[in-house]
């Protein structure tokens, strides 16, 4: 009998900021004893299409995934999308929009460095930067070191790049959720209590957020999460139960960052996962475990 607690639906590959290639991660997932997994790169579905191409029947069960970084007037959110059709226009549009905004941000940063400090880079470097899937502060920092403007990447980010104060644009949560739904997927709020990764959102603020996102079509909460304590999970279970949301499980594995391991979701802390988790597995057609 397969233990349904061996499920990990949140991990990153080199398509975003993980260190494992999609080709590598399948083997690692298998070695970790995981029976169902999803790859959830930031704002891109390329990893999933790649895995769908190369996955063999004897490999662990797989569903598509993605993690959109979203923002609106009230804050930042990471919205996970699961079990969508990666060829669908609806999800491709969200990915494209995200990429466009990111490129706009890179351009704004480069402009700022030029205007404010007179740092310039050859056009081919800029073209290369803009051809990357996910260029960010570290990439610009590396360039500054390469052209002798600073000694280290950290200094570049801290002393120069972070001085840029412009209204960065993000995908809005309602757009991400609409895109996921349009592609036949299930939108889930990632690590709810930690917001976009580094906040602490509790109590009424949490409930307000979830209610708003439900209004847009949110269907689940990622409650089994590597950084959550039993107390945090308990509060979220209550919300999930109250609004009949799916419950998902993910480690947020990033590869080389060895400290989060695959399968580390908190599911193993519990003898019996909550009902919303079983409903999610059933919804995505996973019948490996007891349902």
């Amino acid at each position: 009998m397969i233990d349904v607690r061996n499920v990990d639906l949140h991990m990153h590959t080199t398509v975003s900021d993980g260190t494992d290639q999609p080709e590598e991660i399948i083997g690692k997932v298998k070695n970790a004893g995981i029976s169902l997994f999803a790859v959830t790169d930031h704002d891109d579905v390329k990893g999933c299409t790649r895995i769908l191409e190369i996955r063999r029947p004897e490999d662990p069960a797989f569903i598509t995934g993605v993690e959109f970084s979203c923002k609106d007037e009230e804050g930042q959110y990471h919205i996970l999308g699961y079990h969508y059709d990666p060829e669908s226009e609806a999800i491709r549009d969200v990915v494209k929009n995200g990429h466009r905004l990111r490129m706009k941000k890179v351009t704004s940063r480069l402009d700022f460095l030029k205007d404010e400090f007179g740092f310039t880079f050859p056009q081919e470097e800029i073209d290369h930067l803009l051809s990357l899937d996910n260029p960010g502060k570290p990439h610009i920092g590396n360039l500054m070191v390469k052209y002798g403007y600073t000694k280290t990447k950290e200094e570049a980010i801290k002393e120069y790049i972070n001085r840029i104060h412009f209204r960065s644009e993000y995908v809005r949560p309602e757009d991400a959720i609409r895109g996921i739904l349009g592609a036949g997927g299930i939108p889930v709020l990632a690590h709810p209590t930690y917001g976009s990764g580094d906040q602490l959102i509790l109590g009424e603020e949490m409930e307000h957020r979830v209610l708003k996102l439900i209004g847009y079509g949110l269907q689940g909460l990622e409650i089994y999460y590597s950084g959550f304590t039993a107390r945090i999970r308990k509060g979220l279970f209550k919300l999930a139960d109250q609004y009949q949301l799916y419950v998902t499980a993910g480690s947020d594995y990033h590869g080389g960052n060895k400290l989060i391991e695959l399968g580390e979701t908190g599911l193993k802390d519990e003898t019996e996962p909550v009902e919303g988790f079983y409903r999610f597995l059933k919804e995505v057609g996973y019948t490996g475990g007891e349902l």
């Binding site: 580094d198 950084g227 304590t229 308990k234």
Partner: protein
């Protein structure tokens, strides 16, 4: 980041803010210090930590995964709130930062096994712990004090934990209070009142049944002392000591463990017990042993000690101890007091010898003199002690003619309390005399041995039962043929008349020989 190393424990300082901007770096720094080292525990000193975000919280989880024995200390109340809300305080050891208090120039009002109590202002006192593991002890004392209060023992409960120098202290409210030591030192005429209150509290403690598992068993501690003594006593004596301690049965009644007059406070007419960290369960003999030490044992060689420790002189201490013992046992019978006192001394000296060796070693002149004295007394006592158990209504006494008077007065005290008529009292007295003298004459002849005289009084109907037990040769005085009282006095056999009279006047008289003991029981309806 500043780091300290102590054996295989690592201390890491957390400073400023830890959020997504620097979490990666902080994590790398800490891991660099942890990796490759065989650490048993890590302490994150958060005294300089202003804020921690969820990125920081995740670092805590990761460190804990590598070194499960992790603690975060000196946490500010803001950071503590975050850790509490997210359940981290339940997952790992989190210790709050404490208010700093100075006791310089403060009046010392108490001194216990683990700490000293100072008055910090008119309404508050602080107990400063003198050991390294103070926080665990403070937590323990808070828990046991709360337990005692629930079980009906009036005590002060600390409301705050503070930092005092390099140690910690717990703060209590103690208004207008005065310790019994102070009262005895300043108002010797209040001796009898002090004895009464002190014994009332002692009885209250000893009558309190403690739910299983809530408090440590003092016997285990005393077994440890006896174990220690194996290196310092002749084998036979050490074995006897261990056997005596081991044969004390488990007792689920409370004992205080450090019950002396500095630990009893009078606060606005209310008597409060303080210094609860030694609270335990066990037989009262262990309590009496520590009381003996506090008043007598500790000062037996150097009488100045008690003056220094309690504030009153050795003579006062001696009187207080004896009056207390008499009131506690409900008798003025010197032999009874001596019996129980000797048992207390066995345990008391054991403790004093161990304490002195551990604190001062065997080399110092003063400690050697003390240890030699205690050891000699202990060896003498071990020779004549069969058990550490005592019963308030039981007298264990050497079975010799000279002790008859003590036996008589011990029995009489009990009869008086039961409201016995003079006639019945006289009849019982005669029977007691006959039986005790029989034991003195025959049980151990030509040697000597102990006898037990137990007096039990039942209510409704009031029946007094007196039991005599000795370990001597089997001998049934009742089997003796009754003397022929029809004969003229000069023709009668010598002896046996007392037993005959006892048979006539008592309501029941029985003998049995069981487990190597002669057991003779007499009953009289009052």
């Amino acid at each position: 980041m500043n780091d300290g190393m102590k054996a295989d424990q690592l201390t890491v300082m957390l400073t400023g803010r830890i959020d997504s901007n620097n979490a990666g770096q902080v994590e790398k720094d800490i891991l660099a210090q942890i990796e490759g080292k065989k650490l048993s525990s890590v302490i994150l000193d958060a005294s300089g930590l202003d804020y921690i975000s969820s990125a920081g919280l995740r670092i805590l989880l990761r460190i804990r995964k590598i070194i499960p024995d992790m603690a975060i200390t000196d946490v500010s109340s803001d950071v503590y709130e975050i850790l509490e809300m997210t359940g981290f305080t339940e997952m790992m050891r989190v210790e709050k930062a404490y208010r700093v208090v100075s006791v310089e120039g403060c009046e010392e009002i108490g001194r216990g096994a683990n700490g000293t109590i100072y008055r910090i202002d008119q309404d508050n006192v602080v107990k400063v712990y003198n050991n390294a593991d103070a926080l665990a002890d403070i937590q323990h004392e808070r828990e046991v004090a709360r337990l005692a209060l629930i079980l009906g023992i009036p005590t002060a409960i600390s409301y705050d934990v503070v930092k005092v120098g390099n140690s910690y202290g717990s703060v209590f409210e103690l208004l207008n209070a005065s310790s019994f030591s102070k009262i005895l030192a300043e108002n010797p005429e209040k001796m009898d009142w002090c004895v009464k209150e002190y014994v009332d509290m002692l009885n209250r403690i000893h009558q309190t049944v403690v739910p299983a598992g809530k408090l440590p068993d003092v016997k285990e501690t005393v077994v440890g002392w006896a174990e220690f003594m194996k290196d310092y006593l002749p084998v036979e004596a050490a074995n006897k000591l261990m056997a005596l301690v081991q044969s004390v049965p488990h007792d689920d009644h409370m004992i205080h463990g450090d019950y002396h007059t500095k630990n009893l406070e009078l606060q606005n007419d209310e008597v409060l017990l303080i210094d609860m960290d030694t609270l335990a369960v066990g037989h009262p003999i262990f309590e009496l042993a520590s009381m003996y030490n506090a008043f007598i044992g500790y000062s037996e060689v150097n009488h100045e000690n008690v003056l220094h420790f309690q504030g009153f002189d050795f003579d006062t201490a001696w009187k207080f101890w004896r009056k207390t013992l008499a009131a506690y046992l409900g008798t003025h019978c010197e032999k009874k007091l001596e019996e129980v006192e000797n048992k207390a001394r066995v345990v008391g000296y054991t403790r004093m010898i161990r304490r002195s060796i551990r604190r001062k070693g065997l080399e110092r002149e003063d400690s050697r003199a003390e240890i030699e004295y205690w050891k000699k007394e202990l060896l003498d006592l071990l020779e004549k002690t069969d058990t550490l158990l005592f019963n308030k209504n039981e007298l264990q006494i050497e079975a010799v003619r000279e002790n008859l008077e003590d036996v008589q007065s011990f029995v009489e005290e009990h009869l008086d309390r039961a409201g016995c008529s003079p006639k019945a009292g006289m009849q019982i007295g005669l029977a007691v005399e006959e039986i005790f003298i029989n034991i003195a004459n025959y049980a151990y002849a030509p040697g000597k041995g102990n006898a037990v005289v137990r007096v039990e009084v039942s209510e409704d109907p009031v029946i007094v039962t007196i039991t005599f037990i000795d370990h001597g040769v089997p001998y049934d005085p009742l089997a003796k043929k009754d003397p022929d009282v029809t004969l003229a006095a000069e023709d009668r056999q010598i002896g046996g008349l007392g037993i005959f009279l006892a048979k006539k006047t008592m309501d029941d008289l029985s003998y049995e020989y069981r487990d190597g003991q002669n057991i003779l029981r007499l009953k009289k309806n009052l």
